[in-house]
Symmetry: C2
Subunit: 262 residues, 2 copies
């Protein structure tokens, strides 16, 4: 097998007020943004970084209109474009446990999920203000109630990590907390191009980086700014290309699955 | 002389987006709110807690429309209603150094200003995100440049405090950080009524308290929630009445100067 291939999976879109995207700056009004996952088809396994949202759950929890997703924009729908079944996924990496980053985990029935140890702690015992972001806790409580089986978050196997980690050759998790207490960004080294650095929600959009604006969704202000600065330094150090988590303009310029980067 | 009298000084109004008032909740749109100061005419001196904004500076810095204030709503205009000259003020207490709480300090030419030590440190070396709130730094830089005299913040005499403090009989400063690093709330005990607890920006409005919502203007999320909880406990402990800093509905129900509480 050759080197890794990276696929960007279109998992629909959501909308928030502009003041949520750009803390204390706005402008206000509806801001529509993409939600995507990343498949890394790697010699050591098939990894997915973030799995989008569960449309039915979002509709029930936040009201219809908060999210848009057609059948093709589900995780199975996107993997089908590439000819992969969800059960073939070996690892799911969650940048963090917010509801729009974990909704497709449940399809990956044979995967091990990876997340930062601090993220699991925050998810398990959230501060009151953290509960809306972590409302996916209810998905799992509901699934447990329905199945009668204690349904731990996400998949039968899971590992909690700390510190920066190279989880497979050329796949680096970097600690970027502040948006949530245990947030990870992911950098993937490829054979024929610059490394791809997936910011996760440590940086929603290019404007956040360029104007040094954090989002309103943060658990710690200073940590969030420090992580934004860390992304800048990593970009420089590795000559990496940044892939923001929720940037509608940047998204248009990227190559969606079944196209890939290698 | 009898016990203290407390006067609420109408210092105009400002407008912010609803997402600034209620972090991550809104609703968005223009939210107009009062800005006021408190005169405590006390046997030990004439104290003012917060002095509003400088309209000319706000217009130049944030654009016209951000603030409304007529001549009667300046600090001298309000004191004139009571028959007091600004030079008679013995102490100015600033809950914190944000631009809408210090704009009238300059009129109190014979006062000692009191503030928390941590507030002066944050004001002197602000994080980038703290600079807009502390833009009054420019007022003093400008005043220094014009006069040729190093114009320290506010008045010729100043004291920086730490910890809770009873600064005069029945006048209690309580540490309530989070909105800014060195924020104080003030409680005044009176002869014939419940103590008055002036929250400062540790609590903008009754809705913030009732729904446990902090404002978007914060330097530390968890500290801000802890201070909101502290205000609840203080209210209960002392059977105090809360006076929020920027609540348009509550403001309508209070007694403005020249009326007073005693």
């Amino acid at each position: 097998m050759n080197g890794p291939k990276v696929y960007l999976l279109d998992l629909g879109s959501m909308v928030l007020d502009g003041y949520m995207m750009y803390w204390s700056h706005g402008p206000g009004g509806a801001f529509h943004f993409p939600v995507y996952g990343v498949l890394i088809d790697h010699p050591e396994g098939k990894f997915i970084f973030d799995t989008g949202f569960d449309k039915g759950f979002i509709d029930r929890t936040f009201g219809p209109g908060a999210a848009t997703q057609n059948e093709r924009q589900t995780l199975p729908g996107q993997l089908d474009l590439i000819g992969i079944r969800p059960s073939e996924i070996t690892h799911v990496i969650n940048s963090h446990y917010h509801v729009d980053h974990v909704g497709g985990n449940k399809f990956c029935t044979h995967a091990t999920t990876l997340c930062h140890k601090c993220e699991m702690e925050a998810f398990t015992s959230p501060e009151p203000f953290e509960k809306p972001g972590y409302s996916d806790r209810d998905i799992f409580a509901q699934a447990s109630a329905e199945s009668g089986v204690a349904n731990d978050i996400y998949t039968p196997q899971h590992e909690f990590l700390t510190g920066d980690q190279e989880i497979a050759k050329g796949m680096h998790l970097f600690e970027t907390p502040g948006h949530t207490p245990g947030h990870y960004s992911l950098m993937v080294e490829l054979a024929d191009r610059r490394p791809m650095l997936f910011t996760g929600d440590a940086c929603y959009t290019k404007r956040n980086l360029d104007q040094n604006l954090i989002s309103s969704a943060h658990s710690d202000v200073k940590q969030t700014y420090a992580s934004l600065e860390r992304l800048r330094r990593l970009t420089e150090k590795y000559d990496a290309e940044l892939f923001y988590s929720h940037d509608p303009e940047a998204w248009k310029t990227w190559r969606p699955a079944p196209g890939f980067y290698s």
